[in-house]
């Protein structure tokens, strides 16, 4: 076959270029460790999401020192949970699945980007250096409301990150002369123990309690106030710990035209 000399040179140059491209991408994969979305997770049928312990309650969980897992469900036209809160400078593995059609889970302005296919669980491990708020969008057309599918990813400083949960048990009505008892259950989702302050406000009174909760456990803290100190009538209360809070109203004395219906 008769090939012009210049064309031979061009072909050699083209081959060098092609091999060079393959080499740089291989370096990215092997040298820099940029792995691709893979098939490591088992398939999961959309109607089994409710029974799957990862996705039944979409959430962020600590799985090791500076290692977190975020279980996210995409569906027309929302992401759960929303917002998603993760710590900076930590390894976060996203597990994302779809309840209906094909979506994507894309953190705008970053290379956190994966297709979300019903029946499959996409996983990717990323680390955010910069605290801040990032937009999460679906960039695969998923139906008439596709352009409304949006979520938020909040990256907080590692020291400020907590997985504290608060539940408060309080009476609605108390007879004069008795005690108003508020029982706060503080749950610590982190693996390490947490030292924090529980603040209870009721009527004019403010009570602060130091709380230490072991990793992966919960503590019950009971505070009480004399109903007589509050006086008859309705009294608002709030309980706060970290970023969590709960509130309500307690009525002292018989309810005679309070706001309960």
């Amino acid at each position: 076959m008769n090939i012009h000399t210049y064309e031979r040179l061009w072909i050699v140059g083209a081959m060098v270029l092609i091999v060079g491209f393959i080499a740089t991408i291989t370096y990215g994969s092997v040298g820099l460790g940029i792995t691709m979305i893979d098939d490591e997770e088992e398939t999961l049928a959309p109607d089994e999401i409710g029974e799957d312990e990862r996705f039944a309650d979409p959430r962020v969980e600590q799985v090791g020192e500076d290692e977190y897992a975020a279980y996210v469900v995409a569906q027309t036209f929302v992401f759960q949970p929303d917002p998603i809160e993760i710590p900076a400078d930590s390894e976060v593995t996203f597990y994302v699945t779809s309840r209906d059609v094909i979506h994507s889970f894309t953190v705008v302005g970053t290379n956190t980007n994966t297709m979300v296919i019903p029946g499959e669980v996409a996983t990717m491990t990323v680390e955010f250096d910069e605290p801040g708020e990032y937009g999460v969008i679906c960039n695969e057309y998923c139906g008439a409301g596709h352009h409304d599918m949006e979520g938020e990813l909040t990256v907080v400083e590692a020291e400020e990150f907590d997985l504290t949960d608060l539940a408060v048990d309080a009476p609605d009505e108390v007879e004069p002369g008795e005690e108003v008892e508020l029982t706060a259950t503080v749950e610590n989702g982190l693996l390490e123990e947490v030292e924090t302050t529980l603040t209870v406000e009721i009527g004019e009174e403010t009570i602060e309690e130091e709380v230490v909760v072991e990793g992966g456990t919960s503590e019950e803290i009971t505070t009480s106030v004399d109903a007589d100190d509050l006086g008859e009538g309705d009294h608002d209360w709030t309980v706060e710990v970290d970023d969590e809070s709960d509130g309500g109203t307690v009525t002292v004395g018989t309810d005679d035209g309070g706001d309960e219906s």
Binding site: E7, I22, P118, N139
Partner: protein, 584 residues
Amino acid sequence: MSELFVEKYPEQARLIRLAFTASFIALGVGAVFGLLQALHRTDILRIVESPTYYTLLTGHGVFLVVTFTIFFLVGLYQWAVTDSLDRGPVDPRVTWTWYGLMSAGTIITAVTILAGFLGDPPEVLGSELSADVLFTFYAPLQANPLFYVGLVVFVVGTWLAGADWFRTWLAWSRDNPDERIPLPTFMVLTTMIMWYISSIGVAIAILAFILPWSLALTESLNPTLTRTLFWYFGHAFVYFWLLPAYLLWYIVLPKLSGGRLFSDPLARVVFILFVLLSTPVGIHHQYLDPGISEGFKFIAMTNTMFLLLPSLLTAFTVVASMEHGARQRGGEGTFNWLRALPWRDPAFTGMALAGIVFAFGGFTGIVNAGMNINYLVHNSVWIPGHIHTQVGTAVALTLMAGSYWLVPQLTGNRLVNRQAGLVQVVLWFLGIVFMTNSMYRAGLFGVPRRTAEPEYSFEYDIGVGSMAELNVQLALGGTLLFVSAMLFLGIMLLTAFNDDTEPLVDGTIPPALSGPEDSPPVLDNLRLWIAIALVLVVIAYIIPLASIVDRGGLFGPDIGPFPVFVQITDAIPTVFYSLGALIA
């Protein structure tokens, strides 16, 4: 001057004119939709509700990348086979049959898409008549069954067209036993081999899975499987758009430049490389898909990179042919020969500008192919930027430029107003520069593709410039492209009715500088290349497909349709009940 094509083969010319007519109608509708999308996305003018944007988007995709490109392809290839073999088809009834099938399929699919504009579409075959599923129709999004039926009828038409051209060639080779396959026919045959090998994937996806599922004959499917079968076909589909443009660059552009093709053997090598490599690369569209392991993605990536080779070879041959032509016209110097090219000819200038844009699209394609860089651009508006430089310009502008040369030969009419043609191709070039500049840049900052409203409650961190400026560029570019498309269609329409004139065009194709005698006969051994292509396809696809089926099952882990329609099986008893009531 040689005898005009229309005088020599009047029936072929008529068929090609009709194919081009279908193609240009699709171009017109697609261009209107494109303009509306550009203005809607940028929030400059929204004349439809945002959910209806996806009807426009589906129409824009299907009418332009299926109807416009493929009807032009069959017209051009009919010309190429007839002209280079110097004979018509064995049985013209077959030729008219494939044209009829393609037209019928287009109409069926178009009706399902356009019904999306109705406020209350009628029920057909147990579901609403609409098809807002875009041209990729990823299940479990579901269209009316007729949408898929139309596509199948259309594709069967193209298969028959290929068979028709093979038959013409076989008849010719019986009369010319010792001759090499003429280059234009070689290009047609290799394109169709690629098309047969690849379109079997989408045929299986539709016939075995999506169509029965849309008719509620099967309850579920495996979305990873149908998506993978689509992309098995999808990248070769891209080359199916591109190869008619390649044919024009290799066969017509050197002649327009005033010279001859540089190398016939290399042209054959290029088309063989497309037969071999265009299918076992499809997984590069699925780099970010779960359910496919990294190893298969890596194989697709290396194959894709080698697919650069035929395009780089083409760049050399085309530029070398142009330089040769320019020097025949008296051009001199290292770069001064560029001045000697026929820049006043819209056919030449259109193709040359398309080639420049194609080079740029090649670079952005390398970015897409870069597996790990794909995280940054995947499904961002960067991707339609790439598509609009490639099929939207390298192909579309070349086809339009080719029409300026070909249509006078098919009609026997002189091209009206070459100046307007020149303005048209330059407008297209400017439009695409503005529009894709905006798309590429916005894509890098994470602005998504395929959305009616790309702006959300957060702000994009646009490095240079602003979102407003990017929007203006996109809308301006889209408007210029629209004006250019309308100008083109106007010129074509006037030319079609420009009777009583003599075309100023010479249809002869001069032989290549390095002709077929320089190329080893093995290049024409089509059976060998088909065999190698099939082996490569099996290597690239059999294990991934087996793995997908093994993981998710052939009919998937219980995936229902969206939107959920009234199931046909539920509807049947109701129909019988009503009939019974009516009779009673």
